[in-house]
Symmetry: C2
Subunit: 364 residues, 2 copies
């Protein structure tokens, strides 16, 4: 158990944006909300999952909808208490703590704002260890857990509770209400016990985000290593490519951002080419025509000089980036995990091969 | 307090379809569901509103969406218990009885099915005394009551509870979920106390429906009167026109059925013409270019020979109909009532003039 203040938050936001694998929205907006809440209400207690009682009620909270809409509508601050009251009332039991549902710019930060405002601990765990585009894509689904009862509220004070027959129905009905509410709402879903948390959550993801963020911030203080060597070492990343963005293709279909970013090699990759395909998050990286990494492993684009993460929203012509691959959480590599988030689900015509296999003999 | 069996139900369905003023869907489908429930579970107790304790929890229940979809999907029978459990759990209090939200073919019958299956009394009252197309168009809105908490369930078992900041938001969010669920769902809304029921509901509407239905069934046994005289007498109807349907214009916009039915006079109306405009329900009747009746008064088309009601769904070329106007419930004639359901709300360019004024010197 330790306290998280504003300086820790800066590092966590940076690291979580890296783990967002291109998705999860602008870290700036989420961070502002969390910083404001901590300034007004004080630091947040971060609790290790092992410290949580087995029968405690733990609830992931997040925003649902388009992060770009969130940047305009914002979250009022009342929403956290509303969600808390809706869920506690439903279960007739107090919520012990919140967890983030995913890593990423926005959803890693909102639970800090919630916990600060409600004086509640944040548990150091999430349901993805990265970001994914759909509601059922959480390790809790692997554990057979239900997304519902799911609570939803908007900045106007409208409140909806869903109990659905499948997690896909939760997605469909909550998506319909999210659109009717203007495109961005606050939700809590996959309510669970402390025992379930310990079994299925991605543990210590906040601490990992913080360490990653701290390392990015101090990447130049690397002694004998070059900053890039340093970055690859602490991130345990596989270097996939380095290049200049020459084109970004984007298409919005069914509330998702699909696209492809084209890269022209620079430095040691001069004369080579690569592309990364995405659906909100990066899905696959292809270098010189060869597939080098696929979901569920993380494919991250970072600024070549500062190593700060570049989200799919922020892809721009001419930007120079390093493409790195990170191993995903182990449960995603099980057959059930791969059914949920493997290359096949996203229409990529390949078997899943772990990144460390694909990159054998590479730079890592 | 009295028992309602299958023969009473037949009359109630017929009378309620007349009070549906063209809307409310096919009485046949609703009646089948109620008859099946009574056959399986026994007769329903119909209770006078004055017999209801002031602190009792009373809940209107209905189907939301397109009655034409309901005819295909049906209501499974589990939905009533689900709604009951959702609402009781929300208030932590047992529901004392259901009421219908409106008159009309489907929504006057489903509460009978619910009460039969749950062994619960049906209270002899509703929220319109007719049918209207939108969720906020109930006398309870005049009483400042909230549509939410509103419970919604579908035949698959998905459950949603809404608590919204206005009744218009209830309409918007519930409509979005209804569409996502396939176009027809079961709902309960405007939960109220017995005291509120007594103050704002349209009382004894079931009994009135039954008397109307019985009179239509026996319209030929009218002694000295012609069947038509008999029908106009017991319905307290104003005769507006008699004619043959020469055209029906229909347009579906925003989940509503808009349209206009053109009539060519027959018998004593030979050589004259009329038309009736509708939005699910009939909104206005114009005879020889003169407006003869508008919402909120009831405009009903009935078969010229049998006097059985013709819904807007059932309008067909060549059908011979009598057009009658009935006085609406008194609360609809107040300024607040007219704001909700008067001609202005529906875009009809006229002040509301009660039907008995418009028809002065007419046939009634």
């Amino acid at each position: 158990m330790r306290k998280i203040g504003i300086s820790e938050l800066e590092d966590i936001a940076m690291g979580a944006a890296l783990l967002g694998a291109g998705g999860g929205g602008d870290p700036y907006v989420g961070k502002l909300m969390a910083i404001n809440a901590i300034k007004e209400c004080g630091e947040v207690t971060l609790m290790d999952p092992e410290e949580v009682p087995d029968d405690a009620l733990i609830v992931p909270m997040a925003m649902m909808g388009a992060p770009t809409v969130l940047a305009e509508k914002a979250v009022g601050g009342k929403e956290y208490k509303t969600l808390n009251d809706m869920v506690s009332r439903f279960f007739n039991k107090e919520i012990f703590g919140f967890i983030p549902i995913e890593a990423g710019g926005v959803n890693s930060m909102l639970p800090f704002a919630a916990c600060a405002r409600l004086g509640m601990p944040l548990i150091d765990a999430d349901g993805m260890g990265r970001a994914f585009p759909e509601l059922q894509m959480v390790t809790f689904t692997i554990g057979g857990m239900s997304a519902s009862p799911m609570a939803l509220t908007d900045e106007k004070g409208n409140c909806v509770i869903f109990e659905t027959v499948t997690n896909k129905w939760t997605e469909d009905l909550a998506r319909a209400v999210t659109m009717a509410c203007g495109g961005a709402v606050s939700v809590s879903l996959y309510p669970m016990t402390g025992a379930q948390l310990k079994k299925y959550a991605v543990k210590n993801i906040v601490t990992r985000s913080q360490k990653l963020g701290e390392a990015i911030r101090t990447v130049k203080n690397s002694g004998d290593m070059t900053p890039e060597e340093h970055f690859l070492k602490f991130s345990e990343g596989y270097k996939l490519f380095k290049g200049k963005i020459t084109d970004v293709l984007r298409e919005t279909r069914g509330a998702f951002n699909f696209g492809k970013v084209m890269l022209e090699g620079i430095n040691e990759y001069k004369g080579q080419s690569a592309y990364v395909e995405f659906q909100n998050e990066n899905l696959s990286a292809t270098v010189n025509g060869k597939l080098m990494a696929t979901t569920p492993d993380l494919i991250c684009l970072v600024d070549k000089e500062t190593f700060s993460p570049v989200t799919t929203d922020g892809l721009k012509y001419g930007k120079r980036v390093l493409v790195v691959g990170l191993k995903c959480f182990e449960l995603w590599r099980t057959p059930v995990g791969l059914d949920l988030v493997g290359p096949g689900y996203f229409g990529i015509d390949t078997e899943y091969i772990p990144i460390e296999e694909r990159c054998k003999g590479g730079d890592a």
